[in-house]
């Protein structure tokens, strides 16, 4: 069994998106309950968030944008750049705690205390652009994590896998010209779903050409199509790229019971996806992998999905995984 870190911090519940917003604090409570009910809490290395040093955020975001975000919260503004990004006075501080918590997971992994980690943070990050909040996201958590690994721990090649149902436009744009970070995303086809990027022909620019790979999935598809595309696109890409560490943008919103999108992935399908990614980390990255939560809005399904996700990280026998219903 592996030593798996679990970033859990009640302060992530404070980020308030107002009434009628799907990205709510109950999501994290559902995730926690799922881990607890599966009897996995005692097997995990728990740790809390810490406020990130701003220099790491500035690796990815424009300082003027960071200041604008902080000022908006202090001024009591309820949204940032788009009505999708609803927030409260504390959102800026919570976002810094989220990034800091993820870097804490990476530090512990690099120092050998843990093998991998699950970081269910709020707010999520993969839509955040260099100077723009978008799609419930303010700071691009996973992008900052990749830069931290490269700068602080001299990691050469970082592989990012994003299986949130929406394309991670922010992450792609931040690394599209960079051959040291491979961005792979599988998501609902952008002609049907937010944010309208992540088409098959987007494969990076300049020196980064060939280091971005997108697998858009047509609406109504499920496990079979995800399996086919991951085998066709992700596995050979990482065989060539050989990531030294894998970072995962984990989203559970492609689930058949999630109303956010039109996909039909089952709980078993998510198990297969995560087992496959962990397998890639074992093959190329000495098992080093950090999973960062993005979307997933079905409060009924999140407990079992997160429970299984963490069990796979731990390398517990797969027979113990829960299935639908």
């Amino acid at each position: 069994m592996k030593k798996t870190g679990f970033l859990f911090d009640e302060r992530y519940l404070i980020h308030d998106t107002g009434p009628y917003h799907p990205e709510v604090s109950d999501r994290l409570l559902a995730a926690y309950q799922g881990i607890k009910k599966a009897g996995l809490l005692e097997k995990l290395v728990l740790f809390k968030g810490v406020r990130v040093d701003l220099k790491w955020v500035e690796e990815v975001h424009d300082p003027a944008y960071i200041a604008r975000f902080g000022d908006a919260c202090v001024a009591g503004k309820k949204e940032m750049d788009t009505p999708d990004c609803q927030m409260c006075a504390e959102t800026y501080e919570i976002a810094l705690l989220a990034v800091g918590g993820i870097l804490e997971a990476l530090r512990r992994m690099m120092e050998g205390e843990i093998d991998n980690a699950f970081c269910p943070v709020r707010p999520p990050g993969h839509h955040a652009e260099r100077s723009r909040a978008m799609g419930f996201c303010y700071f691009n958590n996973i992008a900052i994590a990749a830069r931290y690994l490269q700068k602080e721990w001299r990691i050469g090649r970082v592989g990012i896998v994003d299986f949130d149902v929406h394309h991670g436009n922010g992450t792609q744009h931040l690394f599209e010209d960079d051959p040291t970070v491979f961005y792979y995303s599988i998501h609902e086809h952008p002609s049907f779903a937010f944010p309208g990027t992540g088409r098959e022909f987007e494969e990076g620019v300049g020196a980064g050409t060939g280091y971005t790979k997108n697998s858009p999935v047509l609406p109504g598809q499920g496990d079979d199509e995800y399996r086919r595309l991951i085998k066709r696109d992700l596995i050979p890409a990482f065989e060539t790229f050989r990531p030294e560490i894998i970072l995962v943008s984990t989203g559970f919103d492609a689930h058949e019971d999630d109303e956010m999108a039109d996909m039909r992935v089952t709980t078993e399908g998510f198990n297969w996806i995560m087992e496959t990614i962990v397998g890639l980390a074992d093959t190329y990255a000495g098992g080093r992998l950090v999973s960062i939560l993005e979307g997933g809005y079905s409060l009924q399904r999140l407990p079992e999905l997160v429970g299984n996700h963490v069990r796979i990280l731990l390398g517990d026998p797969p027979g113990a995984l829960q299935n639908n219903g």
Binding site: H21, P22, T82, F136, F192, A193, F194, P195, G220, E259
Partner: protein
């Protein structure tokens, strides 16, 4: 939506007495496929396309050593005026994008010279320019989500949709209304500038609208 706003104004032109090699070089250098031919007063007298050039100087003739020399000499003597389409269809600056779209469909041309009141060349409008305009109109460059709604073909349906979307504090990127296979029905496709479509979809269904399965969306019902 006037073509003047969407056309390419920096037009590369050619004189009718120039050689085909010059025409080919101009197209290659500027990455264009249509070269308007103008007279001394900048009036279009013809248009030459990459296809005209290809048929006039086919690659295969160079491969036959017996004829290559003669063919090269023959081609070297040809002028743009020998292969151009004379008196090309031009469109005035005041035409709309819709006019241009319909003309392109009808005439099956890839581009039109655009002329001012005096008939002088002021730009070229091509399928590429119109596509750019269409991408802009659809709003697909902006982050958003498309939903498809089946509505009765009667007055007031769009208002009900707009009301719900507005109450959900969502902005519109664009709205398409398309014919639908079923008689008396229309398909409405609002492109919503949001990630958050759960509630708006639910509320539209609550007031009696049917959402169209995304795999059944189609907007192309024209005869080809």
């Amino acid at each position: 939506m006037l073509v003047g706003k969407s056309m390419t104004s920096k037009v590369i032109t050619i004189d009718k007495n120039e050689s085909l090699f010059t025409a080919r070089e101009l197209m290659r250098k500027n990455n264009i496929r249509h070269l308007p031919v103008v007279d001394g007063e900048n009036r279009p007298v013809g248009i030459v396309t990459d296809r005209d050039l290809r048929s006039a100087m086919p690659y295969r003739i160079y491969r036959n050593p017996d004829t290559a020399q003669a063919e090269s000499e023959r081609i070297a003597k040809l002028k743009v005026s020998d292969i151009m389409t004379a008196d090309p269809v031009t469109i005035p600056l005041t035409y709309t994008i819709q006019d241009a779209l319909l003309l392109i469909q009808e005439k099956r041309f890839g581009a039109f010279p655009v002329v001012d009141d005096e008939g002088k060349l002021v730009g070229m409008i091509s399928v590429r320019d119109l596509l750019r305009a269409f991408i802009n109109v659809l709003g697909i460059g902006e982050p958003g989500s498309l939903i498809g709604i089946l509505v009765e073909e009667k007055v007031g349906q769009l208002k009900r949709i707009v009301d719900v979307v507005t109450e959900e504090n969502i902005s519109f990127g664009s709205v398409l209304v398309a014919r639908y296979g079923e008689k008396g029905k229309r398909a409405v496709f609002p492109y919503l500038l949001t990630n958050n479509v759960i509630r708006v979809k639910k509320r539209l269904q609550e007031i009696g609208f049917k959402l169209i399965d995304p795999m059944d969306w189609y907007i192309d019902q024209l005869n080809r």
